[in-house]
């Protein structure tokens, strides 16, 4: 059955049709929430809340946008609210990161490649969380989830040009915060 038909049935109150819509989109919404929270439990709760909001708002859905885009917009707003409530905007000082990662320098020779990759991921995500929510969201949508510029523009209701410039600023900010760990020849995080 086509998505439009499923939406119409769900608008009339069919939970069965809505369950198919949920099945089609739950993983993408979950991954989006997970990339921003890095917490499976919180991501699960946010995904559920996003679907509940979507279900309640479904009678107002007028097919002006793709259902997926509309749904991801709800999910993004949900996650943004969560990040604000959790005070995610806390600054991660580079000293803290250095302390956390300090032991890594001496042991690096003995670590396996996967462990190194995991540490890199943790570090990059930690710095990512310290960015303002709008930068976190755009980096998550593009660089973690891999949405196209056009999809991001529709989800965030901004122009493609704004996506380009906001993404550019967010990436520069992220790189600047990570600068002490990057581009050091023979350094800790050099790609070998």
């Amino acid at each position: 059955m086509e998505e439009k038909e499923l939406i119409r049935l769900a608008q009339e109150g069919s939970q069965q049709a809505f369950s198919v819509l949920v099945q089609n989109h739950q993983n993408r919404v979950f991954n989006l929430a997970l990339s921003l929270t890095r917490n499976r439990e919180a991501a699960d709760d946010l995904t559920q809340e996003a679907f509940i909001k979507a279900y309640l708002a479904l009678p107002k859905f007028r097919f002006r946008a793709e259902f997926g885009t509309w749904l991801y917009r709800i999910a993004v707003n949900q996650v943004k609210d969560y990040l604000r409530k959790m005070g995610r905007r806390r600054e991660v000082s580079l000293e803290t990161v250095n302390e956390q990662e300090g032991h890594f320098e001496t042991d690096e020779g003995n670590r396996e490649k996967e462990a190194l990759q995991e540490r890199r991921r943790r570090l990059v995500h930690q710095v990512l969380w310290s960015l303002p929510p709008k930068h976190q969201v755009i980096l998550s949508l593009r660089d973690i989830q891999g949405y196209s510029y056009e999809e991001i523009a529709m989800i965030l209701k901004i122009s493609v040009g704004t996506v380009d410039s906001r993404l550019h600023r967010a990436r520069i900010l992220l790189r600047k915060k990570l600068a002490p760990f990057l581009s050091q020849e023979g350094g800790l995080y050099e790609v070998s």
């Binding site: 993983n27 009678p59 660089d143 993404l167 790609v191």
Partner: protein, 162 residues
């Protein structure tokens, strides 16, 4: 090319949004700029680390969601009414509009005074009905009074009614 522009271009290049011509210009710049080459390497590393491996939702996602939806529905029994209220507003307006139009078209307007010709043609009234009493009046004084009152037809207050 300035390094500031080169950074913008190399980020676009990583997204596959740079034209071939711009790509060549960027390559030329990168060959002569160690700083931008390192930036390119940094961005490659950062974006590579960020790229997530897709994950799946915890088990029984729909079951748990359905339970929450049912709880909400029980908690707000009038939710369906709210959902339909938005549709009900334009529908009610349409019904009212239809009623008004119907009344305007099908209900006759208030009777207005018809001329004698209109009365003759539209109501098939006998034009001599009003004058019958006048002709039959034998008393001269009354007859004259009747003639006086019927002379001015434009003034309904003065018109004679037998």
């Amino acid at each position: 090319m300035r390094c500031h522009n080169a950074e913008r271009w190399l980020l676009r290049d990583l997204d596959g949004r740079l034209s071939n011509q711009a790509k060549m210009k960027l390559e030329v710049h990168l060959q002569g700029c160690r700083g931008c080459t390192l930036k390119k390497k940094d961005y490659g590393l950062i974006l590579g680390v960020l790229r997530a491996e897709p994950s799946s939702t915890p088990p029984d996602f729909w079951g748990r969601l359905q339970a929450k939806l049912n709880d909400r529905a029980r908690a707000t029994p009038w939710a369906w009414m709210r959902a339909w209220s938005l549709r009900a507003v334009p529908l009610s307006l349409l019904v009212i509009l239809t009623l008004v139009v119907t009344m305007l078209f099908f209900f006759p307007s208030r009777d207005r005074d018809l001329s004698q010709t209109e009365a003759l043609l539209l109501r098939n009234e006998n034009p001599y009905l009003e004058t019958k009493a006048l002709f039959e009046e034998t008393h001269l004084e009354n007859k004259n009074l009747m003639l006086i009152f019927t002379a001015d037809e434009k003034s309904p207050s003065r018109s004679f009614r037998p």
